[in-house]
Amino acid sequence: MSAIIEVKNLRKEFGRAVAVDGISFGIEEGSITALLGPNGAGKTTTIQMLLDIITPTSGEIYLLGKLLRSHREEILAQVNFSSPYVSMPNNLTVWENLATFGRLYGVRNLKKKIYQLAEMFEISDLMKKWTSSLSTGQVTRLNLAKAFLNDPKVLLLDEATASLDPDIADKTRKLLSRMQKERGITILYTSHNMAEIEELCDRVIFLQKGRIVDDARPADMISKYGRKDLNEVFLHIARGDNESLNPNI
């Protein structure tokens, strides 16, 4: 087993607040892993540290076998990211945006690549539209298309599948799953959609208050806590008691 993402004692303090409290984990190449946890658990901070957008207070991050701190450029060329809290320039067309990021990643045969991805994410007929005119779901698909421009080996998604309609959400899940199977792409992602995580993920890392409180396969986690699905597991761990089984709540 080779860990394509390796995090050791990663810690992030913002002033006195501890956002990530010394976590360690390794992620196997070609797997899909969910970072799960309540709001403020430290998921976004962790993902941003993996992208070198936030500097850790301490700890080490290895991506693709190399230390991120000293191999940023080389690593980021093979990584991509998507999240609805980031947007692409509204004053460019969809095509111009994809072309810009394609150039930033140095994509070869850019035109072909863009049309392929557009087809995949069903945004082909939006190419000439202003990005500002897209619906939330269309923007999400554009963001996802961007995330595949450089054929990433590692894909980090922060709530990237939120605000997709059930049809597109389903297609996106199938696509992510296909990418994993066909290209061996490694995906680490956060989502609040428990059913999606159950369907898609090989593994769930549960974060709470900056610490890893559990780490298992979704099915194992469900049976371990004796719940019927991941949603209940989430409520159980997040609330730290049996409230989740109380029908009055």
């Binding site: 936030i54 990211f81 980031v86 004053n91 150039r103």
Partner: protein, 262 residues
């Protein structure tokens, strides 16, 4: 350093400039209006025969040169702000793009803007007031280069200020250049300043450029020692602005601000 990444950012800005009226106005509208107002005023003053030197030329030269400085500054800071306004900063910096590549692309953008502005202003000044920018001869090159570099350094500092204080500081940030104006000897010689400010003025590359411009228009030669001083002080400002920028960039990464700037 990768050219394709610098290129990517340049093309991105050209996409926008190509059809964005406010951005085109920013390049052409104000400079042209200033040129017309001050040009006609100085033509009027010359006709009413005040003093011997060619007021029209001196004023027009000053206007054009000042615009070059401020266009250069704007190219840098606005290029950064575009990404902040569009919440695109993170997308940009999760690519392998280096901050230095980002800064170089803004410098090239500055050169393009300067070329456009000086072309339009130069032509207008020629047709309306028979002011020939090229009478400045080869000195034009070091003059423009120094204004470009100094404007760029100011723009880089402004980016640093915005990273430090957020976009609420953007209006303040754009004021930085007007702090420099009175002591840059734009419209009057350094000797017109009180002594203390003369010293400040001597520490700014812009003052050597504006003084040099007037000297050449009056038929004199620019001293190479003055050009050297311009380049030397400029080098110092570039170094300082980069130190400030990288310091603020690192701070923003420590505090998770790249995500939050808007």
């Amino acid at each position: 350093m990768k050219l394709h990444r610098i290129n990517a950012l340049l093309i991105r800005h050209l996409y926008m400039y190509r059809r964005s009226l406010p951005r085109i106005m920013d390049i052409f509208y104000w400079p042209v209006m200033e040129l017309l107002v001050w040009g006609f005023l100085s033509a009027y003053l010359t006709n009413s025969n005040l003093g011997g030197i060619n007021i029209v030329s001196v004023l027009l030269g000053a206007l054009i040169f000042w615009d070059i400085l401020s266009q250069s500054q704007k190219s840098v800071s606005v290029a950064f702000l575009e990404d902040v306004w569009e919440r695109n900063l993170l997308n940009i910096f999760v690519t392998p793009l280096r901050p230095s590549e980002f800064l170089i692309s803004t410098a090239i953008l500055g050169i393009i803007r300067i070329a456009l502005v000086s072309l339009v202003m130069g032509l207008l000044a020629f047709f309306f007031y028979s002011f020939n920018l090229f009478q400045l001869g080869f000195a034009l090159l070091p003059f423009f280069l120094n204004l470009l570099i100094f404007g760029w350094a100011i723009g880089v500092v402004i980016i640093g200020i915005i990273m430090r204080y957020g976009t609420q500081a953007q209006i303040l940030a754009f004021g930085v250049i007007f702090l420099v104006q009175p002591v840059s000897a734009v419209f009057y010689p350094v000797s017109a300043l009180p002594y203390g400010l003369q010293i400040v003025s001597r520490l700014l590359p812009s003052s050597y450029v504006f003084e040099g411009m007037r000297t050449v228009i009056a038929g004199g030669e620019v001293l190479s020692s003055n050009l050297l001083m311009a380049f030397l002080t400029n080098t110092a400002y570039v170094v300082l602005s980069l130190l400030f920028f990288y310091g603020m960039f690192a701070r923003a990464k420590r505090r998770g601000l790249l995500l939050k700037l808007e």
